[in-house]
């Protein structure tokens, strides 16, 4: 049994300790906002926050997340930065197919938490691990600037 704190709630899960956090969240808890993309930390679709830092949930065993605070896309709006990021996403209508956007928002929120006034170069460096097959990159960058302005 693994005890996992997700979005402020503690769950006791009967899952193998080497199961990726991604599947514990999706299949064990039923929070399906976090997406499976590649499973090998190449696309960023599965990004969550662990103790406030962006982490690829496909590449972390659930045993390593025990005792830490996991935040998923379902609850990122509860934070000031997360709310501003989601609002900017909506205002600029960033999403196209939307599949990667949970991960994009989670990475963007982590960026803005650590760097409240990112330049284009900062955004490119922070978001380079999040792939969007619809190529919404220009709107993603604009939304991050928009969120930064709202937070200033």
């Amino acid at each position: 049994m693994i005890s996992l704190n997700v979005n402020g709630k503690t769950y006791t899960l009967d899952v193998p300790p080497d199961m990726p956090v991604l599947w514990a969240i999706r299949d064990g808890i039923g929070l399906t906002g976090t997406k499976y993309g590649c499973g090998i930390a190449q696309c960023g679709a599965c990004t969550v926050h662990i103790d406030g830092n962006a982490v690829r949930s496909c590449s972390m065993p659930v045993s390593a997340a025990a005792g830490k605070c996991v935040t998923t896309i379902e609850n990122i709006g509860a934070t000031r930065v997360g709310k501003a990021t989601q609002s900017a996403w909506e205002r600029l209508d960033v999403m196209q197919c939307g599949y990667c956007q949970s991960g994009q928002i989670m990475s963007a929120a982590a960026l803005l938490s650590g760097n409240p006034k990112p330049t284009d170069a900062d955004i490119d460096a922070a978001m380079s691990g999040n792939i969007c097959r619809c190529a919404t990159y220009v709107r993603i960058r604009a939304a991050i600037h928009e969120a930064a302005k709202a937070l200033a």
Binding site: P20, I40, A54, R56, G114, N115, A125, S128, G129
Partner: protein, 191 residues
């Protein structure tokens, strides 16, 4: 006459003693340099070199291609806000995704970029406290023989296809013995 003989004996004795000591020093230096050649085999292997790049991005694989996805060094060698090394690299290798891991995964500082350095150049950079993070010889030996991230080079796990990564050459215990012997002989660098 007797005094002259004594003086001559002392002079010759001193000369031979000095000669012997000098020859010993030369032999020790040669032995230390030879040991560093073995150390260099490990340090110049991509498992080590890929995280000692001369630029701001780590490399990957035996062909030392640029890290995929693209990542940046950041202010502390641990990535940038929003994309830290620890976003993917955990404290242990993770077979499920093939992502390598070890405690404190990070890039060596830019001053310790070892790419394209000769044995002598790499050795001198390694010993230069202005470049190596103020490590004295004892700390260098400690880093090479006991650091968990360095030790990852001997247990690099499997890739995303389940294929075992090639470890650095020379078994770990043998490497540790070589490093300590090199240091004991004066930590000499090849030319």
């Amino acid at each position: 006459m007797s005094q002259r003989k004594t003086a001559l004996t002392l002079l010759l004795g001193g000369f031979f003693a000095f000669g012997a000591s000098s020859a010993q020093d030369v032999a020790r230096q040669a032995q230390s340099e030879k040991l560093f050649a073995d150390i260099h085999r490990v340090l110049a292997h991509p498992r080590c070199l890929n995280c000692h790049p001369k630029g701001d991005s780590p490399k990957q694989g035996l062909d030392a291609h640029l890290h995929v996805p693209p990542v940046a060094r950041g202010p502390a060698g641990k990535g940038v806000a929003g994309l830290q090394c620890a976003a993917c690299h955990q404290a242990e290798n993770y077979a499920a995704s093939g992502v390598p891991g070890a405690p404190n995964w990070h890039l060596a500082p830019l001053s310790m970029g070892w790419e394209n350095k000769s044995q002598g150049e790499l050795c001198r950079v390694l010993l230069d406290q202005s470049k190596n993070g103020q490590k004295d010889l004892k700390a260098i030996v400690e880093h090479l023989t006991r650091d968990e991230l360095v030790a990852w080079g001997w247990a690099p796990g499997t890739d995303a296809d389940g294929k075992a990564r090639e470890p650095v050459p020379i078994p770990k215990l043998e490497f540790n013995r070589i490093v300590r012997a090199w240091a004991k002989l004066g930590a000499k660098c090849p030319k």
